[in-house]
């Protein structure tokens, strides 16, 4: 089965400077493959090249080198656009049209007409929580509401592959929750979702695989479980009933011992130490263990490491 999205050595240079324009490499040799049905997180800090990649895939901009394909056909093919949905970052539509009119317009561009169009428009507006505002002109919409219109227009054709550029941006906590639920519903239906974000919690909650982009280059790609479980940094144990003598005795054996309240402490040991041994010692001295947690790298830590590593690398003079 063909990959849902495939890029090979995708590169984009922009010319910067007015008098003597010089190329600035926004994306450098991106090779990526996303399988059908995957929810793929495209992560990176601002300016990493995420939106550039999405625009290349949508052929809103043309690559300087390399190629991209969607559903086995070249990106930008009109037949492919029939089967995809795209939400741009901070979307904007037509001030003087209502949400319903904008969506009906887009539905008709897909060849959806009559009652089918009316029913679909009503359905997607309900899905994104804009059912009550359907007849309001967009100039009165807030940023969050426009984001929802953006999502609705991306879903109007029941796309097989959905591209979302920072879909949570501008949304309140309830809105973010709704978008997450929506993506999960789409995943259950088998829709491929490719979304960019710099908010890692979103990716952790939704994605089967992620790619991390830094300074236009792919830093890493893989399953979340592999990346998050990458490193065990140690163990954190909370114990109560720790006497001063016991604390003094433990001080030299553990990595850190931090008081929480009267006789409660947070005790940290390194990844090579066995937590069982510490628990036995605490038990023998009359202290009780309240909790034990492994300390792992979060996606946030991993992200920072990868970004730092990429920054340290030579950028090839571009």
């Amino acid at each position: 089965m063909a990959a849902a999205i495939e890029t090979e050595n995708l590169t984009k240079d922009f010319l910067v400077g007015f008098w003597r324009p010089r190329p600035y490499r926004a994306l450098d040799g991106l090779t990526l493959s996303v399988e059908p049905g995957e929810v793929f997180g495209f992560l990176g800090p601002n300016g990493a090249g995420k939106s550039t990649t999405l625009k290349l895939l949508m052929q809103l901009i043309y690559p300087s080198a390399g190629q991209a394909s969607i559903l086995g056909r070249p990106a930008g093919d009109v037949a492919v656009r029939q089967r995809i949905g795209y939400l741009a970052e901070n979307p904007y539509y037509y001030d003087y049209l209502t949400a319903e009119e904008v969506l009906t317009y887009f539905a008709r561009l897909f060849g959806i007409r009559g009652r089918d169009a009316t029913a679909r428009v009503a359905r997607v507006l309900d899905e994104v929580g804009l059912g009550a505002e359907r007849r309001m002109r967009l100039r009165r919409f807030s940023k969050g509401m426009l984001q929802r219109v953006g999502l609705a227009q991306a879903l109007i054709n029941d796309p097989e592959v959905l591209f979302l550029d920072e879909p949570m941006s501008g949304l309140d906590p309830l809105g973010r929750r709704q978008v997450r639920d929506l993506i999960l519903q789409l995943r259950a239906k088998g829709t491929t979702v490719f979304f960019s974000s710099h908010i890692l919690a979103d990716a952790e909650a939704l994605c089967s695989r992620v790619a991390i982009l830094a300074q236009g280059r792919l830093a890493t790609t893989g399953r979340i479980s592999e990346l998050v479980a990458f490193q065990l940094k140690g163990w954190e144990l909370i114990a109560s009933g720790v006497t001063d003598e016991l604390r003094a005795a433990l001080a030299s054996k553990v990595a850190a011992i931090v008081p929480l309240s009267h006789d409660r402490y947070t005790i940290q040991i390194g990844p090579g130490e066995k937590p069982e041994r510490l628990m036995t010692e605490l038990g023998t001295h009359g202290a009780s263990v309240e909790s034990l947690l492994p300390l792992r790298d979060t996606l946030e830590d991993y992200f920072m490491q990868q970004v730092a590593a990429a920054q340290a690398r030579d950028t090839g003079g571009l």
Binding site: F14, K55, M58, L60, I61, Y62, V78, A79, R81, Q82, I84, Y86, A88, N90, P91, Y92, Y93, Y94, D95, Y96, L97, E101, Y105, F106, R108, L109, F110, G111, R137, G150, Q153
Partner: protein
Amino acid sequence: MRAIALVAGAVFRESIRDRVPYSMVIFAVLLMAASYLISQMTAGQDMKIIKDLGLAAVSIFGLLIAVFIGIGLVSKEVERKSIYALLTKPVTRPQFVLGKFAGLLLTLLVNIAAMTVAFYLVLAYVHSAATEGQRLSWPAPATDPRLLVAILLIYAELAVVTALALFFSTFSSPLLATLLTLGLWVAGHFNADLRNFENVVDVAAIAWLGKVLYYTLPNLAPFDVKAEIVHGFPVAWRHVGLTLLYAAVYAGILLTAAIAIFRRRDFK
């Protein structure tokens, strides 16, 4: 074809809800009404003044609608990024440009039709208020149907201006595109002077440059038949036909160039 019609329909729907064309049409109608008052002060010239001012109002306010909405159509979409949603639907870039052009022509048609109706109402009122003697002194009847020929050519001229506005807005900022379009509109009305440049300058190169500019820049003078119509002079159908053909060819070339530029453009 369906995509072009849909884009044009959206342009039309959005334009007629914008306040700009309404205010233009209202201004034009006010000017026409005011022309009646002005004509009261000029003995014997009243009908010519009313017609002159009325046709000028249709032309100027039509121009403003064509330029301001025409440039806003593409550059606003690019600036505000609404183009992202549209160009990722099954719409090609040429269809987008042609749809915008057709939508604006439709908007102009409706606005000019509204101004024309208002114009004829003013003329009909003047006709009914005039004495038989006054009517006989007019070079042409008040509600002369030939005024429609002048308005048809104004519309054709505005189609060329719209194509110019669309062309410039595919690669330059809205302000620059506005200035260039208005500048070419002015230049277009004095284009014939460039052709005769060789009569006033001795330098062959400059005379040659004048000729090149004459053939490159839009020649808008033939579209202006206001004076002939107002004074009741004949306007040859051949002139009307050739001018309409010129408008179609010139707008066609501009649209082809606009599409070629738009096709290659990166929407950052």
